[in-house]
């Protein structure tokens, strides 16, 4: 938890409002002749009302207590006498009074439950009547006023209080929440957020780097938090808890996080070692011409009711590639690694395809390919949003070819996914390299 120092309203600052009648006097004191009490003349009575706990939820009946001290020469506060101790203010039930005396201190604790009509920033006045056993004839009321700050935690979004409300949102759309103590009393307090579901701070993607920014511990104790849900879910209760003193208060907002329904279908071709390829003679998985692609992806996305205008993109990761080539002198080289597949994004639109391959030439006598891919269908809603993954398709192809003569190659063996199926996906593609930058290394 972090501590927040809020700018304050000076008028609500005196939580511990010491009313020192004998030494300083106050505007709240309604008496001046302390001799009535028979106290010692130098400092006879201090009535010091103060508040030692003040959180009240607008929806609960949480108790709070005001404690009023009366110090002096055998002071007493008699609960049995009507009006000895009372509490005034709006929206509060009659208090339960507990009076204790110890030495020169009499303490009246007023415990009262808030009611649903209690409002934040409410001010209450505590009045006690103190008389001294040293002079039973003296019975003069001492009134001390204190400000009880009835505060509560709130959750705001886009300039409005959404505490207690239920909101619909969609995966990928920024949720900008602000946690507040209401009223802003200038108090230093700690706070924390609890946000269920898979939520992140962001996702950055370029042709060289794709990385998720998770929400940090610091994010979850700040008064402002911006995040994005990746997975959907109904009835997610986001809470913002404020901790002040030994009390806490929780604000809750419920989110129904919608997610598009989506599917990706695939259609695969076959592996060949021939010249029917975009870049000439090659060991390849299909070709780029329409209908001949190695693998073709077709997506269907239906946005949830109330959400329209989103967009999609394809991102493909090479999970692993191992390609090898043998020179005519028998030496081998290999190329291996993983990373983003060439461009970011891979493509846009409802369909895309891939026909990977490796060019063959008479420089080599053998070539092998073993590639594993995952194609991601990403979705972004309108507004201030990021892409989120919806579906993924894992697929592979492999082949080995041997040169049998000038420009003549035979396919020794091959394998590939056959119309691979898609799966639900809430895990982002991440990468820190690009397979187009892989280089050949000596040996197998």
């Amino acid at each position: 938890m972090s501590t927040r120092k809020a700018s304050g309203l000076g008028m609500l600052m005196p939580l511990l409002f010491m009313v020192s009648l004998c030494l300083t006097g106050t505007a709240n004191a309604e008496f001046s002749d302390r001799s009535f009490l028979g106290f010692t003349p130098h400092c006879t009575v201090i009535i010091a009302p103060y508040v030692n706990a003040v959180p009240i939820s607008s929806t609960s009946t949480e108790l709070f207590t005001i404690t009023v001290n009366g110090n002096g020469d055998n002071p007493i506060i008699e609960p049995g006498e009507a009006g000895n101790v009372h509490l005034s203010g709006n929206g509060i039930s009659p208090p339960t009074v507990n009076i204790t005396t110890s030495g020169g201190t009499a303490k009246a604790s007023l415990t009262a439950p808030a009611t649903t009509s209690s409002s934040t920033g409410e001010e209450y006045t505590a009045t006690i009547y103190v008389h001294s056993t040293s002079d039973p004839h003296v019975h003069v009321p001492r009134t001390g006023e204190t400000h009880v700050i009835i505060w509560k935690a709130q959750i705001w979004e886009n300039g409005g209080d959404i505490t207690g409300q239920t909101h619909n949102t969609i995966v990928g759309r920024k949720v900008p929440l602000v946690g507040k103590m209401e009223p802003d009393a200038g108090l230093s307090y700690a706070q924390s957020w609890n946000i269920p579901g898979y939520r992140i701070a962001g996702w950055a993607a370029s042709e060289s780097l794709g990385a998720v920014a998770e929400l940090t511990d610091n994010d979850l104790v700040a008064d402002h938090i911006d995040y994005f849900w990746v997975d959907g879910g109904e009835g997610r209760q986001v809470t913002h808890t404020i901790y002040y003193g030994n009390k806490s208060n929780i604000a809750t907002t419920t989110f129904n996080v919608k997610r598009p329904t989506a599917s990706v279908t695939t259609e695969t071709n076959h592996v060949a070692a021939d010249a029917n390829y975009v870049n000439g003679l090659a060991l390849h998985f299909g070709n780029v011409t329409d209908g001949d692609q190695g693998i073709k992806f077709t997506q269907s996305v239906t946005e949830p009711t109330g959400f329209t205008g989103g967009d999609t993109e394809w991102v493909q990761i090479v999970d692993a590639t191992y390609r090898a080539r043998q020179y005519n002198n028998g030496d081998w080289e290999h190329l291996s690694g993983s990373g983003l597949d060439t461009e970011y994004p891979y493509a846009t639109g409802t369909t895309t395809d891939d026909s990977p391959g490796t060019v063959l030439s008479d420089t080599y006598k053998k070539k092998t390919v073993d590639d594993y891919f995952t194609m991601y269908l990403m979705y972004i809603p309108t507004g201030d949003s990021i892409y989120v993954p919806l579906r993924e398709v894992s697929w592979f192809w492999s082949g080995t070819t041997t040169r049998t003569g000038p420009g003549t190659w035979t396919l020794d063996d091959d394998s590939h996914s056959t119309d691979p199926s898609d799966e639900n996906c809430t895990t982002y593609p991440e990468w820190s390299s690009n397979v187009k930058d892989l280089t050949w290394e000596s040996g197998l």
């Binding site: 370029s206 042709e207 060289s208 975009v278 870049n279 090659a282 390849h284 070709n287 780029v288 011409t289 329409d290 692609q293 190695g294 967009d311 993109e313 493909q316 090479v318 590639t321 390609r323 190329l335 597949d341 060439t342 461009e343 970011y344 994004p345 891979y346 493509a347 846009t348 639109g349 895309t352 395809d353 891939d354 026909s355 990977p356 391959g357 490796t358 060019v359 030439s361 590639d371 690009n434 397979v435 187009k436 930058d437 892989l438």
Partner: protein, 307 residues
Amino acid sequence: MLEIYQRRLLPWCGIMLAFSFAVSSSAYAQASPLLEKRGLPVAGVILIAVLQKTAVAPGDQVMLSLTMRNEGIQPQHYRALHPLLDYSLIVQDDKGQPLPQIPFPPPELFATIGKALLAPNRETSTSYRVTQAFELNTVGTYRITASRKIFTPDETHTTDVVSNTVILHVSDRLSSDFMLTVPIIQLSVVQGEPVDMQCVLKSISTTPAPLTLEGPACGYTLQVQDFRGDLLPPKPGVAMAGPPITRISLPPGEGLACTVRLSEIYDLSKTGRYFVTAMREVPAAGGKTADVYPPTVIITVTAPAKN
């Protein structure tokens, strides 16, 4: 290189020489008819080229970031194989002569798409290892322009989208004691608003470094290029101003930030993209000097919103 080195002779002459460079830039455009289409949209598609490092030492790798964006209203299509096959580069030397391309082995193909879609307001980005295809080991200034083919609407032919021209400095004077960074590398401003660029010069030297801050550009030599890559001249009179000089000592590890109000030096009143590079001369060992360059800053000037 000429416009970089002569600027040391006179404060602000870098800007002045940039102007003369811009005047003669038509000679560069004559190297290929393709260059006449520099920076222009084709069917709404533009190609933006930015060097990942605007200055490198001889032998260093040169990476060019390429972003193809559809700013039109119709979807466009393109073939995607590999940047080395998808993009064509024209690299010209100081004299405007195109450099021959080095034969490179066919790249391994992973993402091979016969007809990729580029929807309106979408872009695709990649990088091109320029030094894989061109010899850039000689000290000098090079101008690099990229192009990529997209399909015509009937998809039976292709047409070239040509990027802006970027300027690469291959220098043996690069400082190892300083880093020059720009906190914001992409900036969008509304037409008529002031345009500021902040540069942060950080000393990674072990000793305090004496520096001079000259005039509104803080001692930087600026190059501002328009959407085509042509250098903009400074506003009349700017280069003639007698700049005050402040001398400071930059402690090791410390950074010195300076904000340059570009719009007071250059006419950035037209909407479109501008590419800004800066260079600064810094002390080097043995009483010599060296140069530092930050990344290119892209400024997009947009028209005010209509009420």
